[in-house]
Symmetry: C2
Subunit: 377 residues, 2 copies
């Protein structure tokens, strides 16, 4: 676990006004350690960081309180063999090599849980906070199979696709001995955002790993999420976008993955589904189309020729027993009027049957009185 004095020096370095990540790296490269940076003269630091050199001569505002809060957080679940809380610094041998191999690695990484997951081969699975029911199911199924196959699933703990990816990875991990999940969050690790994912975050802190580069006490701020996304992309060999609208954070993560020289995968979807637009746009730009988890394992040369490793596009259970309503519904969102016209059923009968199918998990009800068929992988 990180030493108290060392932590104090790192916190001073990263919290000093005018010292960004790039400046911190230049200083560390020159002076070897944050203690070395702080002991150096302002004149020696100035060529590297300009006027910010002087600011390093004094404690940044709130330093003592931040140090105390960070130590209290660390004490809440001490690091140990079975996991716990810790702060990884640039140069720590446990700092993930995958992140070092990016243009802008975080200076500090706050972690809680199974730190060894940082060394495993990983896939990022991200997507919309407002997905379709099928999108959620796809995220869960792909994550479960990839985790079972030994990959660590990295995501952002957001509502929607992110949450389903973490859940699926925990399922896959429970079934086997390998795999797991890493949640990279955009707040301090003492806070959980969104609140709805508090229980999930606790499970990940035990069975997986929580990661943040933001200081203890950092609340949720929209501008921090794209910054967080580069860690998601940077920790993984590739990023899978499950569903995404245009102009969404998931597309930022995909761009960051490309910039870090990693693969981008996307699940295609109907050209009429808003939640598929972002994925289809990525595919136009050269992302790899995947229709099963095996596609990703093959790309990483991890494929095992077992049917169990296939997901995403299974033959439907009881495919021979076609439900005429499901046949009429197809895989695109459809309104009630269109279904009345297509099936010849009355609106009342149709509504009753749709409710049955919805309760059975075969049909999802979308905003705008649209219905869509759901296949389970």
């Amino acid at each position: 676990m990180i030493d108290r004095d060392e932590l104090a020096a790192w916190l001073r370095l990263v919290a000093t006004p005018g010292i960004g990540r790039g400046a911190a790296r230049r200083l560390l490269a020159e002076f070897g350690s944050p203690e070395g940076v702080l002991e150096a003269s302002t004149a020696a630091r100035r060529p590297l960081v300009g006027d910010a050199a002087a600011a390093l001569a004094k404690e940044p505002p709130g330093h003592a309180a931040l140090l105390a809060a960070t130590l209290a957080w660390l004490d809440g679940r001490p690091a140990g063999e079975s996991g716990g809380r810790d702060v990884l610094v640039l140069g720590d041998p446990r700092y993930p090599a995958s992140l070092l191999d990016t243009a802008d690695p975080p200076t500090l990484l706050y972690v809680e849980g199974r730190i060894e997951l940082l060394g495993a081969a990983a896939i990022a699975i991200v997507g919309s906070r407002n997905p379709t029911a099928q999108g959620l199911e796809n995220a869960r199924a792909f994550a479960s199979h990839l985790s079972r196959a030994g990959l660590v699933v990295v995501s952002g703990l957001a509502l929607g696709i992110d949450g389903a990816a973490h859940e699926g990875a925990l399922e896959g991990q429970a079934a086997g001995a390998t795999g797991g999940t890493i949640a990279v969050v955009g707040t301090g690790l003492d806070l959980v955002y969104p609140a709805r994912h508090r229980a999930l975050a606790h499970r990940i802190a035990s069975a997986g790993l929580l990661v943040s580069e933001f200081p203890i006490g950092t609340a949720s701020r929209p501008e921090n999420f794209p910054i967080r996304n580069r860690i998601i992309a940077g920790l993984a060999r590739g990023t899978l976008v499950v569903e995404a609208a245009m102009r969404s954070g998931s597309l930022i993560t995909a761009r960051l993955a490309l910039e870090a020289g990693r693969e981008v995968f996307a699940i295609p979807g109907s050209i009429h589904s808003p939640q598929a637009r972002g994925c289809n746009a990525l595919l136009k730009q050269g992302a790899k189309l995947v229709d099963s988890a095996t596609d990703i394992l093959e790309e990483f040369s991890l494929a095992r020729p077992t049917p169990a490793a296939r997901s995403g596009a299974p033959e439907p259970a009881g495919a021979g027993l076609a439900d005429p309503l499901l046949e009429a519904l197809g895989f695109d969102p459809m309104g009630l009027d269109a279904l009345v016209a297509r099936t010849g059923m009355s609106a009342a009968d149709l509504s009753a049957r749709l409710l049955d199918l919805e309760l059975a998990g075969r049909v999802a009800r979308l905003p705008g009185q649209l219905f869509q068929r759901v296949e389970r992988g």
Copy 2:
């Protein structure tokens, strides 16, 4: 219109046992015309076609009957300025240049209708004989917009996607002055297969063009359909596959298009839809993903910046008229209290408006009384 004696010589050439399309082309290159081929000595022909040289010395079986049937077919609707029936031979100036630019152009092309369509820029639209309702609608919409933009839509008159493509192209043509459709069939032009498309074939014979390389009287044979597919691909600058199962004829057409150096486009779909598997597989192999007709027009440098040319993924009605509530909502989940503060509306008014927007599919209601904007377009 083709001369009777010339036609007789061409029919003898192509019907002679042992003389395939390649042999016919070698003979024509050497002797200049089918009459020249027939007048040459067997010894002169032998170096080009081996033992089949002798067979050319006598009339092939059924020659007189085939000539009579072909002439009767031609007489049924004589060629003229407003269209009609004709036989185009290799070397005819009206023979389509796009087909000459393929590895294996047909020796004869039987045509009925607007022969000038052979000279227009064309797109092939093909797909499953057993499509989804959305697939049919996509085929119709893309064909209509591409025809309206001036492209000729080539397809195979099959049930399903092919028929919808022809119908859409005829619609688009009716709306404008350009565009049109060509149906390439796998039977003699005196027969219509499938019978269900008899009325459509008649409309195409008038408003578009029917094409076949098979002699009059040739019935539907499964082995002729892949042969026919190379003409569909060869007539067009590119082939769009709308929906296709794995191992389907549409994928053969796509392969033939690639072999002829043409573009292959595919519409993506749900990984759970059997009818999308073929398209998704093509996209994995490098086909260009399209989600609107504009994508194809842009590829051909034919795009016109008119909203009418967009299909498949229409902009939502009134997308330009920003709703102040939607603006206030942004794309992150937001509670009612925050919205009250941000909009100055009463909670009651806000609830009513949110319900409207939810029913219109513009807003999603999340657990915890949070609302989120749904991005369409």
